[in-house]
């Protein structure tokens, strides 16, 4: 964006905001919040993927309470991280 178009946009926003009783600033604020919320949701994908992988690979060995089996499963799992 050039300085001129940037300036034009800032002035237009101020004018529209003043005419609309602050609604433009409020909408900008809501867009920022929405973007953050969308990313929070998207971030769940890696979390869920990691959790499912961990449970699939380690739940059975850990439930067995057999130290040798737990150690073997942990070693194999950690090597692939």
């Amino acid at each position: 964006m050039t300085d001129k178009t940037g300036l034009r946009k800032r002035v237009a926003r101020k004018v529209a905001n003043a005419a609309g009783g602050g609604i433009v600033d409020e909408l900008f604020q809501r867009i920022t919040e929405l973007e953050a919320e969308v990313q929070e949701n998207r971030n769940l994908n890696v979390r869920v993927g990691e959790l499912v992988d961990l449970v699939s690979e380690l739940m059975a060995p850990v439930a067995s309470q057999d130290p040798a089996r737990i150690e073997a499963a942990l070693a194999k799992f950690e090597r692939s991280l």
């Binding site: 990313q39 949701n41 990691e50 961990l54 942990l74 194999k76 799992f77 991280l81």
Partner: protein, 521 residues
Amino acid sequence: MAPKVEAIRVDDRGITFRATEDDVVDVRLDGRRVWSFWLQRDSVPEAGGRYVAWPNALRRFLDGVTRLSLVAHVTETTLFDEELTFGTGGDRIAVVNEKGQPLGLDKTNKLMLTFDTRSAEHVAPLLDSLEEVLGVIKEAGIEAFPAYGTLLGAVRAGKLIGHDSDADLGYVSKHSHPVDVIRESFQVQRRITERGYDTYRYSGIAFRIDVLEGDGSKRGLDVFGGFIAAPYGDNPAMLYLMGEVGAPFELEWIYPLGTTVLEGRTLPAPARPEKLLEAMYGPGWKVPDPAYHFTTPRTTYRRLNGWFRGIRVLRNEWERRFSTTRNKLPEDGPSALAQLLVEREGMPELLVDLGAGRGGDSLWFARQGARVRALDFVKQASLAVQKVAGDEQLDLVVKDVNLNSLRSWMSEAIRLAHTPGPKVILARNLIDAQSEVSREATWRLCELALRDGGRLYLEFLRGQRRERTEKALLTPLPVAEIVAELERHGAVIVHQENTHEVKPSGAPGRPLARLVAEWQR
């Protein structure tokens, strides 16, 4: 047609010229390309013309004599060609590495051993590795193919691109939900490690496979995963491929795979490679551009970031920070926190140094007879300590534990929870080096590891948060907030003190907080 460029002047600062069109130009020193730039995009206005500064990576070489030419990359028209002297040196300028091998700037302006200076004999090991890795991935159930610059070079001219320096692979998952694509990538990586290869994960769907070449050197090939998001409403099916692609796409443009030829070898390729290349480089992909910049749309960048990234937060920064000290043994003895720990607990049987960094405290504890687990997401930071611990046969295990990755910290927590006997966790300058998400993982790891006894010794910069920068990677934290967080996680604070770092002169330095916490059942 060659661009019209006039009034070219080259000096120690950079290159000035007059031109109205934009085009990509190679800078050659004694006939060899070392850099390329776009006449308009990469320059700024100066004195009625344009000016482009020497990139920092090249600047240190510019002391001596050279025949400098500027050549339009596409038409190979010479725009400027003169014998020049830079700085005060009298020798020919040589842009080479410590082994004397010729270097050039790649598209990200990093000095690399680019392919244009390498002979067929030199690139053969890379091609061997490429074929080997394609085979390994196929055995793991995925049909991968050369991607990005490697595919571009193969399709455009059957050759590696001269100004490129590495080879990339890609694949498109049959799954259509990010979670499934991530799980598949984890499974593929696991199958590959079971075959004995070292790997390194970048994100939920991208990782590197290390291959040993004939001379024993290690080469890492990046594997980028992708998937097709199903169409909805009026929106078409979209291909998202790590790390730059988001474009309307059909799976049948990829599979079943066809073939392409690269440096005389037949390799798998997307069924319609031109479709993928257009998605990667835009409709102008056929025209060579050694200074290409991806213009990934914000929506694609945000999607790829949100779905797949986040497990490497601050890791690159700490890798860079430790890169200059990793071979130097830390010399400052036990930290004040380590001394406090020994005063209160005696010498622990099992000491977990969480965020061990260079490992100074870990080494000290191991030398005093403690069993030590030194955990950090930059394992290389303590290379010198690892060597000494090996030489002295100390009971010191250094492990890569990444508190940004649930699989990494949770598997370590399970291990610690199943390790019998008392244990003490030392975390010095850890939480002030972390993101909020990673700090949350720290509390959960401590809670799991210490719920049957033991204590956490914590030291961090105290004060109001400030923005983290590359130079100041630690950021102070308000003590009351940290205490409240720990208590929310079931911890009881059994010791708390506010103190200061001690400068070498003995004068007080930055404000510190020390906390000792335990989880009482």
